[in-house]
Amino acid sequence: MEGSGPLSTQTTQSPQPAQRDLLYSEEEEALRSVVRGLLADHCDATAVLTRTESAEPHDRELWKALTDGMGLAGLLVPEELGGQGATHREAAVVIEELGRAVAPVPYLTSAVIATEALLACDSDAARELLGMLAAGRTVGVLTVPLATAPGGALPDVRAQDGALRGSVPGVADAVAADVFLVPTSAGLFAVDATEDGVTVAPQTSLDLTRPLATVTFEGARARAVGPESGPAVRRGLRAGAGLLASEQLGLADWCLTETVRYTKERTQFNRPVGSFQALKHRLAQLWLEVVNLRAAARNAADTLAAGSADADVAAALAQAYASPATVHIAEEALQLHAGIGMTWEHPVHLYLKRAKSDSIALGSVGRHREELAARVNLPAP
């Protein structure tokens, strides 16, 4: 048909957000290129796979290169506190590349979530910790289950006379942590991992590259960093959720690129399998999802960077879209790799495990839709 296309139907609306910059700047592309180069040298799929089977799940050498060498742990920390004074836009680019490599480093947990939680606390203790986290020699982890959504219920750790008691399962990167940030009803506390009364018990995790552990405090001595846990945790988790979309974008982009490459090379019935229309259409659909995912992820990063009033909506929107899309893309990547994709030696399983785990991390799709329903005035029955 030769008609004209869909046209706008204007109605009463929720408030219009300001127009965001959804592109990558030249500086951001330069940053990407440096990080990608470093990961190509230090973090190939075989090395990641080998590490998942070792006693040391995190790549400390890579972490040192990213933090000591490039100062990337301090991107979100102001310069006067020892950081780089950059924004979530740059952090998002780093996270995208870390996702593309399923890199086993505690960047999202320490350099984003713990750092953002501390940025919400106005205290000398918080500022001191921010400097340490920015330098990268100290890894900080917010002690909540990885599945906690921004605004979700917090674990029940009690603070009494400067000592903590309680147990928190499902804490991501806890085995790499030097310091735990612990929300309690008496405020946010910091505890060194080496402190007496702190136990970290690794759990067997679906995602081998972002390991989980149960952290238990039995009278561990802690120092107060903020009088209120709620706003600090919410800020940390919101930034985490918003930037997790960039990790999902990196994962998804790798899955699509590798699958396109494979289907061009693999022949069956005397043709490259990528020449069959049934497969081409599926790959084109995945490309569309990646294109959409990129817009949603850039929007989330830019609203966080600008401190926009739309940042909560943008983070929930990005997660509500990115989680199912990334899992779909990873599942399709495995299916289109067929037999080899089902093996331990091919890295696609690392991506599927991370994608599925990311879809639960920082709130499931349902939680983010509920958040949107409240924020854009689409109430439940």
Binding site: M1, E2, G5, L7, Q277, N292, A295, L317, L378, P381
Partner: protein
């Protein structure tokens, strides 16, 4: 060098000379064309100033703020979006001078005689014949899905001029005079009950050779320009949050709590998310174009909007429940322009089915994405080296 400030100044000067409230609409539009403010990226004398395309927004904003009349792109969309860029690129100087001004002003409506009953997605298989007779061509055949043909003064037409060569090579591109006595336009009633499209029968239609666009046998190449511009114009519209199809659904949800169910709530939120993300993708594409780095995203925009429009309008009918069982009007009508605004949910649901067919089916567009964006191998082609006359039909 023409920059934004210079264009703003020209627009202001123009408005001072032709104040919108004191100037008759047609006069205003003609003067705007002559001032080079119609499409600033076109050459001088042809409605433009040879300026960067992105600067049109500067002019539009100035004129819109002053309450200037627009040139009604919905009615003349095919002329503006498809015929004009093709004439600009392939037309002779004489063709550009005679066609572009009345086209832009809206004095002359254009339609597109491409699709045929046996040649839709496989457009190059078309069978309408054009036979040379001295300085004219004699055309016979049938076209279909021609929107606006009943109102059109001119048509862009592709026809077969050499059946002895493979199908893509024997096609030539023409401008057809719709007032020629051999042109018969019959309404084609659609799923919505309306006849927005037509069948067009061409019987011994004579077209002067001066109305040929491009070289003989080069019609397929010329048509690619038209089709590319068609898809851009379908997928590229800028919309605000909750603009487009999702708008009436969220409005009904907010104003009529008695319609809400938990299942509809989940589906609405899912589609709200997808509509907002698609909007951001469109915005990202627009920013890339402005920055002079066009991305391949445009290839996917129409695909995404087609599916979304269908899902959202389908949900809307369900949300309305008993009301969704009703339809506004099955009377056969011939609308001059297509618009979802002010229509009911049933119409939107039915009309949106065309979104994945018109301007290239979603299946053909997925092939284009797979082959041109992802670089996947093309389908094996059995008709590539066969003369058109020997193809099975």
């Amino acid at each position: 060098m023409t920059d934004g400030a210079e264009l703003r100044r020209r627009a202001q000067e123009f408005l001072a000379a032709y104040p919108p409230d004191g100037t008759e609409r047609a006069e205003f539009l003609k003067a705007r064309f002559d001032a080079g403010l119609a499409w600033v990226h076109y050459p001088e004398g042809l409605g433009g100033l040879g300026a960067p395309r992105s600067l049109q927004a500067v002019v539009d904003a100035e004129l819109e703020a002053a309450g200037a009349p627009d040139n009604d792109p919905r009615r003349i969309g095919i002329g503006l979006g498809m015929a004009a860029p093709t004439i600009l690129r392939f037309g002779t100087e004489e063709q550009k001078r005679s066609f572009l001004r009345p086209l832009w002003v809206g004095d002359e409506v254009w339609c597109q005689l491409f699709s045929e009953p046996g040649a839709g997605s496989d457009l190059a298989a078309l069978g309408t014949r054009a036979v040379r007779d001295g300085d004219t061509w004699v055309v016979n055949g049938q076209k279909v899905w021609t929107s606006g043909a009943h109102a059109a003064r001119w048509a862009i037409l592709i026809a077969r001029t050499d059946p002895e060569v493979p199908k893509h090579r024997g096609i030539t591109y023409f401008v057809c005079d719709m007032t020629d006595p051999g042109v018969e336009v019959r309404p084609l009633r659609q799923i919505t009950g309306e006849a927005e499209f037509n069948e067009v029968f061409l019987t011994d239609v004579t077209i002067p050779d001066a109305h040929r666009l491009g070289e003989i046998g080069d019609g397929w190449k010329v048509a690619q320009t038209t089709l590319m511009n068609e898809r851009v114009s379908i997928g590229g519209a800028r919309i605000p949050r909750e603009g487009g199809m999702i708008g009436p659904v969220v409005e009904a949800w907010r104003e009529r709590p008695e319609l809400r169910t938990h299942d509809l709530h989940q589906r609405l939120l899912k589609l709200w998310v997808e509509a907002e993300v698609a909007r951001l993708t469109g915005e990202r594409l627009r920013q890339q174009l402005v920055a002079g780095q066009p991305g391949p995203e445009g290839s996917g925009m129409k695909l995404g909007f087609a599916r979304l429009n269908q899902e959202i309008s389908g949900l809307e009918v369900e949300l309305l429940g008993e009301e969704g069982l009703l339809y506004e009007d099955w009377t056969m009508r011939r609308p001059e322009k297509v618009d979802f605004v002010g229509r009911d949910a049933g119409y939107r649901y039915l009309r949106a089915k065309g979104n994945s067919i018109e301007g290239g089916t979603s299946e053909v567009l997925l092939n284009i994405v797979a082959e041109r964006v992802l670089g996947l191998p093309s389908e094996p082609r059995t008709d590539k080296d066969v003369a058109w006359k020997d193809l099975a039909r």
